[in-house]
């Protein structure tokens, strides 16, 4: 029963990781911007949701909308006023990364100042587990997390493969010059990518606010997982990032059946290390020759 419980927990955590990782992978894959502040979009969405629901006592649907707007605005503003100017001055990949990292620290401190540095959570009966079988406890939030992850992922795949904007976004990662030749604006497409990528962090943020709770530093952990999932899944592959997110969640939880909890986070990076060693292109990444 312990194994089954850990398997269910692993799928739930993995679904959240997949949602976060897909957003990061979409941005990184399309724009080649190492958007370290993706974790901050997650933090902002989670805290706005917490503030609207728990402090302002606003209906949760409006709070979801508010959190989504906040995360998307953050992504757009960051791209327009930080990344675009740096790229205009031909700033290196590393410059963009440092700027993004700095924004992450600023957001963490701002959240601490605005909402306090203590642990907070959105109280919801959905986070409370029910005993389905003797010794097997599952919270409604677990099912919701899995359903949302599947819906978002399928929706994203359809958007990228069936719409002109989606196809242009995919083309952006391949050849920005060609996109320009077709009369499309790479900058405008980048804005769409940032809006969509930041929006993808919202469901995981809301589920975390109700499930595991929040603190201003939560974005760093999110970012580590996103990065690991992007590499394990294959850079630029959304399918790979989603599968890797689930794999990491499963590995983290199933390892508890045999190892000390101390090792559960390390397992994530052992998986990452093994992929870098034996399959550097990840699950679905393409092998490129330099």
């Amino acid at each position: 029963m312990l194994l089954l419980q850990l398997l269910i927990n692993g799928v739930q955590v993995g679904a959240l990781y997949a949602l976060i990782a897909v957003g990061f992978s979409l941005i990184f894959g399309s724009t080649r911007i190492f958007h370290f502040a993706h974790g901050s979009a997650f933090t902002i969405a989670a805290y706005v949701f917490y503030d609207l629901v728990s402090i302002e006592q606003i209906h949760w649907l409006i709070a979801v909308l508010g959190a989504s707007v906040a995360a998307v605005l953050f992504g757009l503003v960051l791209n327009r006023f930080v990344y675009v100017p740096i790229q205009k001055h031909e700033g290196s990949f590393f410059t963009v990364f440092v700027a993004s990292f700095g924004v992450g620290i600023i957001v963490q401190n701002l959240c601490g100042m605005l909402f306090g540095r203590a642990f907070v959570a959105v109280n919801s009966p959905l986070s409370q587990s029910m005993e389905l079988l003797p010794g097997l406890y599952v919270a409604p939030l677990s099912g919701i997390a899995i359903i949302i992850a599947v819906v978002f992922f399928v929706g994203l795949q359809l958007f990228l493969s069936r719409t002109h904007t989606g196809m242009a976004m995919r083309a952006l990662s391949e050849n920005p010059e060609l996109v320009r030749a077709y009369g499309l604006s790479p900058r405008r497409l980048s804005m769409t990518v940032f809006a969509l990528g930041s929006f993808l962090a919202v469901p995981a943020a809301l589920l975390s606010a109700a499930g595991s709770g929040l603190n201003p530093a939560i974005g760093h952990h999110v970012m580590l997982i996103s990065l690991a999932a992007t590499i394990v899944g294959g850079v630029g592959s959304l399918r790979g990032a989603a599968c890797a997110g689930v794999l990491l969640g499963l590995a983290e939880n199933l390892s508890l059946a045999w190892f000390e909890p101390q090792w559960s986070e390390a397992i994530t990076f052992i998986v990452l290390f093994l992929f870098i060693l034996f399959r550097p292109s990840g699950f679905f990444g393409r092998v490129t020759a330099s």
Binding site: M1, L2, Q5, L6, N9, G10, Q12, V13, Q108, N109, G112, G116, R117, A118, F119, A121, N123, S127, Q128, S129, M130, E131, G135, Y137, A139, G211, S212, G213, N215, P216, A217, I218, H221, E252, N253, L256, E260, P261, Q262, S264, E265, A266
Partner: protein
Amino acid sequence: MIKFSKAITAGVLACTLAASAAAHAADVTIGALFPLSGPNGSYGDIFGSGVNLAVEHINADNLLGGKLSIQYEDSQALPQAGVIGMNKLVNVQKVPYVLSAFTGVSKAISTIATRTKTVAVNGGGVGPDLAELGQYFWNMIPLANYEVRAIIPYLVNERKMKNFVLVYVDDPLGQAIKKEMEAALPTAGGKLLEALSVPATAQQFGGIAARVRAANPDVIYVASYGSQQSQIVKQFRDNGIKQQFASYTAFSIPQINAQSEAVGSLYTSQDIGWESQDSVTKRFVDDYKKKYNRMPTAYIANYYNCVRLFGLLAQQLIKKGLPVTGENLLKQRLETKTFDMVGGQVVFAENGTVSMPIQINEIDGRGGKVVRAAGK
């Protein structure tokens, strides 16, 4: 004539500077190495509220003849950041006295304190090793070994809870508590079923809850701190764990006392008679309530006491005409022996740690209650 007026101007300037220097001769800065950011940043606010009130009182009483100020550095509750902050305080600010917090940070900075003869005083970390960090490291808080030894007999004998699971953060504090539980539980007639270590950065505890449930203990002792202990309590309760929670002073912070999932949890803390009518305690409690509109906690009193201790020692040194250095502060502490502090008279043991009675508290959702007074 021009030369004469220049000489007068220079003289006036020199006198002004000298007067200004004399006016600030006794201005003193001390350091505080607290987590001001990261998952344990809330502790910085809590500790700082006690420190700032003590500074206000010392300056209002003109205890030092000059102004006392605090230079805060962010340790993030991490040893590496703590060492950087300590180096800055000691080498750049040249402070003689540093307030420290968290076992890992305190252990990391203790060597710098000894090497530079700077007094470091801890009011929050409770790892038993902190009693052995040299004569320049003092503890204004009873350490975890006393807390564990106080709660285990209570749970085993009075609450008839014999089977324990320990969930501990993998750092010097958690390891020290594990060691203490392994030693104390069999003696008291209890049993440690599982000791589950978690990394300090872990935030998901659903899987660990499954392990705890499988062990089926009577008590879950949580040896963590900050946001993580709140997350453990919430996620364990959400995952169907109904057993008793127990912990140490870390559970005394407002955030966990306000958490609905933590209601019923038992934790140890030092006994501070908040109702005491001695002038130091009464002034502290009254002014704290006036300023923050809530009751202080043991941590806040400890850091108030840490700063007050500095004020009392420095006052003695200034009276004797001695410079306020770490070396002189240590000599003065050894000479003075007892100090009037919040909670009563305080005596330091030879290892620089105060001994205080321990009480057992219960979180009741209404500010907490004492379920077993100290010394019973």
